[in-house]
Structures are given as structure tokens and as C-alpha cells.
Amino acid sequence: MIITVTPNPAIDKIYWIERLRLDDGEMPLMRATQSHLTAGGKGINVSIFLARMGIENIAMGFIAGETGRAVERRVRTEGITTSFIWVEGETRTNVTLLEKGHEQRPIQITEHGPTVPPEALKRFFTQYKRALHRARYVFLGGSLPPGVPVQFYRELAHIAHQRRVPVIVNAAGEALAHAITEKPWLVKPDTRQHTDVAGVSLKTPDEILAVGKEWVACGIGAILVSHHITHDLLITPEGAWDLEARDVQFKNLLGAEDALIAGMLSATVQGASVIEAARFGMAAATACAESEELVITDRAAIERVLPKIHIEQL
């Protein structure tokens, strides 16, 4: 059983449009050529991927209101076990615009999410500790809603490590900086908005390699960092590798990062080595980017793009 934690889930609404016309008249009207509605948030996307790969998992987090009910219903429809904490307010609705020909640069509007009161946090920890009795891995990912302290992931990782359960963290900023002090099994910095962690830059491959080597020397199991749209660097105590996806036909980048981690995790659960798992994850991310699906589910599609993934040991 794998636990995924999404502190700030969302309903993701995605619109595909022919052309952005923000300067056409006073009230520009854009008609979507197609749209897609799904439950989202990093952990939930990972949960959906794992469930579709036949891997049992529990989705945890805070939900509220009618959107929260919609998230819970959609997650359950995937056969995922739910263990959400209900709070007052309304779960986020995040909107994404994908303009034809510019799919690599989606326009996203995100909400803050409901405020989590101290008693809900306390209940979350109680349910989390209970769920850990059955867990093999824990995934922690995404932004923190108001009321959740920046030490949240660090505390969850600490509790998991007390039970000898490996932890994967995919976060940004202060939340990530705190989490890495617990030396997770895998760290994937979310560099979409923050290219630094605790004041350390992760922009260039050289910077990533230097920081990654330092982190694994401190006890972190592995670090995976995207440094280009088609390149990721994997650093482990055994070495460093550059993973490249070649000849990618981009249609949508929205779920690619989550597919990367979920693919890596699913391959690990099935016995793959770290580098084999990262390659499968990269293939999952590429298959996702080449489809309009937010969470790619077609194992055959993933295996078809495996030859596009090139690995170079550094």
C-alpha cells in the first residue's frame, strides 16, 4: 500500500483553445475546442496513475465543500482508498488554458484553497499514523493550503521514517527545504516557480549536480531534477545520470511531472533499480506529454516511448 498526501487538492478544469485573444475588443470571448475536468493535485495525480497500474494506494489530504465532494467522488471512482480530512470552505478549482501551438506554455489560474484549522491538522496526523501501519511508501507533494505549517512535510517524513517507511517529496520552497532535513528516499524539487531551495540555485545542470551530490552525501536516497523540458538529472550515492527524452511531440505538459514520479514509484514497487525506475518514469512523463490525458494510463503507450529515453552516466 502506498500513501499519497495532497494537502491542497483541486478540481482541475482544462480548456483547449485555438488562440488567446486577450486584446480583441473590450470583452474577448474564447470558445474552447475541448475541455477536461478532473480531480487534481500532485498526490492525487500520482494516486490515479498508481491505481490504473494496479497498485493499491490511499489518498490523503484536506477537502472542503462541494468541490471537495467532487474530488472525493472522482478519486473513489478510480478505485483509490480515500482518507481525507474535511474542513470548512471550498476545495480549489484550478483553471488551465492550453493554446494550440503553445501547449508547452499553459496559462494557469490557481486558488489558495480552504484554511486548515489546528484541530483538522491534529486529525490528519492521527489518520496518517494509522494508515502508516499498512504503508510501503509515502508520497508527499504539492502546495500547502493556508493554516498548514511549512514544517508539515518534514513532520510527516519524520513519522514515516520512525516506521521505516521510505518517503518521496515533490515540493518547492520552504516546505521542501524543511522536508529534506529528514533525508527522504527520493526528492524531486518542484522547479516550476522556484528554481532554488533554501537559497541554493537549481537552474543549471552544474548547480543541480553540485547540490545533488551534497544532498546524497547527507543521506538523501536520490534526487531527480528537471533542468530542461526534455532533460532530468538523477543523482544517487552510486552516481549521476542525465535522462533525455528525444523526439517528443508535445500536446500537454500538465501531468508530466506527476507521471514521472508515479512511473518511477510504480516501477520501484515492482522491483526495478533506481535508474530503471527513473527511465520508466521519464517514459511515463513523455507518454503523458504526447497525449491529451492528464494522467497517462496506457502501459503500452509508456513502453512504446521507452526507446526515446536516453541515459548518459555523468
Partner: protein, 141 residues
Amino acid sequence: MKVKEIMTKDLTAAELTMTVRELIELFHQSGLSSVPVVNDEGRIVGIISERDIIEGALPGYFEVLYGITDMNHLSQKLREIENDHIEFYMTPEVIKIEEDEDDLTAADLMIRKNVKVLPVVNKDGILVGMLRRIDLLKDLL
């Protein structure tokens, strides 16, 4: 069909030390009307419903069937117990079912015991989901 294939895979549960007020909040926010009560390991130690709370506030209400003539009376009684732990009001004898049992066994149990929902446990007795009547009805269609 096995119970684990048709159950609602939800682990929403209460703990013995939860207060009546916290439970009412949980019911209100989640839309649930009953939840299992579990220990630290997730083993079921009871079940509690809205009805248990009303009975806790107004003991004998459902047996005597006297009408509520004054909402302030119920409100006052609820306030008297709002900080009590739910362990005093839950039903400790829980009718539950194992996840590997078949749907016929579950349906028979629900009918014989006249319950709308069965907590589902794994072979170690840990809560893994809830089987509702509607889960069975949907399975039959």
C-alpha cells in the same frame, strides 16, 4: 463478487477521544451519518451514528417516541454532552465483514441484522472500507 470489489474504499473514522462536537462537525462536513470508531492501529472498536448522538442527548427518545416540543431543550441537552468523548455514546458491538467475503454473505448479514452499512476489515481486523446498501444494489444491476 468479493466485498472488497464493491465496497466504498473510505477510511473516514472517529477515535475514542473525539468529542461529540467534533463528531457532529465531521458528519456535517462529510455528509456521512455514521462512522466506525477505531484504535491507533485502525482496528474497529465501535460504531457511532447521528442517532447515537440524539439518544445520548435525549436518552430513551427513540423508545418512548415523545415529540420534541422545544428545540431549546434539545440544544441545551446537546451542549451538555458536546465535550464528552464519543466512546460513551458509540455502539461497541460492531457488525462487520471481512473484505474477502462474498456479496451474498454481506447482503444476508445486512438483512438479518437490519443494518444499512457494514465496516469492512482485512484479515488482521484493520478497517479497509465501508459496504453500504447502495454498494450492493449497484453491484446487482
